[in-house]
Symmetry: D2
Subunit: 166 residues, 4 copies
Amino acid sequence: MENQSNSKQNQQEHTFTEGLSFEGFRQIMKKFANDRDWNQYHTPRNLLLAFTGEVGELCELFQWKGEVSEGLPEFSEEEKIRVGEEMADCLAYLTRLADQCKIDLTQAILRKMEMNAKKYPVEKCKGKSDKYTSYQEMKEQPQGENQQNQQEQLNIQQQQPEQKIE
Amino acid sequence: MENQSNSKQNQQEHTFTEGLSFEGFRQIMKKFANDRDWNQYHTPRNLLLAFTGEVGELCELFQWKGEVSEGLPEFSEEEKIRVGEEMADCLAYLTRLADQCKIDLTQAILRKMEMNAKKYPVEKCKGKSDKYTSYQEMKEQPQGENQQNQQEQLNIQQQQPEQKIE
Amino acid sequence: MENQSNSKQNQQEHTFTEGLSFEGFRQIMKKFANDRDWNQYHTPRNLLLAFTGEVGELCELFQWKGEVSEGLPEFSEEEKIRVGEEMADCLAYLTRLADQCKIDLTQAILRKMEMNAKKYPVEKCKGKSDKYTSYQEMKEQPQGENQQNQQEQLNIQQQQPEQKIE
Amino acid sequence: MENQSNSKQNQQEHTFTEGLSFEGFRQIMKKFANDRDWNQYHTPRNLLLAFTGEVGELCELFQWKGEVSEGLPEFSEEEKIRVGEEMADCLAYLTRLADQCKIDLTQAILRKMEMNAKKYPVEKCKGKSDKYTSYQEMKEQPQGENQQNQQEQLNIQQQQPEQKIE
């Protein structure tokens, strides 16, 4: 009994802290820029280059490591914190970029995952790396999806009362 | 009077649809990979290279455009959809990467924004690009922040029922 | 007369200093790594990530600049030196990567330019940006080219007898 | 005896074909753009984004491979050709970028390697990965180096009389 619950704890899935949405983070970033009067520098291509700069910094943390394992046991605690910081920087600029481009990032994510779900049906792709390696080809044609259906398939539950997605 | 309210409408802030959190997206991506038995391919460096690949594709959409404006009026509707899709791909791989590295992306974002808020106090930075251009230097030393305090300062409230931030 | 020669001088084409070949640089980099016993760290994916890291640093130098002009008049002398350094770092890792992958970079360049010359015939492409914007689609199918022919067309002469640099 | 010479042959160093210099490639790329009247699109940031796009495509070729070995034995012949093509694309845009920025790429490379040689003296760095991992920190301060001296140390000889390609 105890063992069972222990082993359950051990294999407990890693999660992100709840409570921050893409829209919530957009608001934080927007306010941060507004407060400092920085929107004037936040043109789309300036932000895109800032984003690629952060991506480069994230890559640098992995550059001499050889293959690394799930959970980064090969990294020191300080290095793991750095990884999180660089990820945060990537997200900050990508979020600002989407905001300044007036792209609805939430909708873009949901639509794209729906496209992926159709392109990679579970029954055909399960455990097949050959199929999977063509994952990279999967983003050609934009489609106008039925988003209701999409949310059902992807099991997105609306946090209520907050509902509306469209 | 009417004009005023019109102009208010026109300058209405662009928002992302609410209802999707970083943790929610992590779950979607995790389930997507689990269902297809793809975790075996999702090693940290595989995901990192997949992420950089998507970043490259996002860059390609902006490469021959010259400077572009807020809202991307220079892009066709189809191009804007492509931009959203590539952003979604970037986010998908970054989210998977954080998950497989067992990084708490939400906490990483909140900590980093707190560090930024300290480094760029409003009164000193407002409208100063010279200060701002040193933004890129701002991610050297990892710090163990008081996260409670951080969330208070940034006004991040845990979920329910989606209290407005601005 | 004088004016003419002056104006000719002014419009003199920018050149790189001659005397360093791709193979020569490969040798320099190889020796540098050998002398320090660093080949053990120079696995393909380590080098690829180091390369992307340097690309990010190059991007950072352009990130808050808005559109910049030919010759970078908007940059300080120090900034221009930094740009050259980051470009050098990019080239150093790309060269090491090609070497460790046993790719013949010179042949790869010549083949690719030949493919481009066929894909973008002068008469069809001249001054057409619409054609040009599809430049990014031009690298799909590998081809086995006649390299002799290719070098004739591109006027690459082999330097005999291949002066050693080390 | 025979074995010895055989084993020497087997361990023959991989080389790039000689005969193409950085300046020679600059000329090829310049002529290619001139012939098509494409300089108008080749602004620094357009080229920088095109470069990052190609870097992303190079990364994609390595993304699901796990760690790969020297010489890429895990890649098919076709995949290796693709790798060479993407490297060529990276080099093409980086070369155009340096040209349009009026950076002397050859000098930048030589200066940077000289800086690296000073920063990483053989006797201190040999086989030490801990030293090596700080390689990424080595590009902070621009310096005005004695280039004569530098070229002597690196044994770069100037090829006179600089055979013209165009």
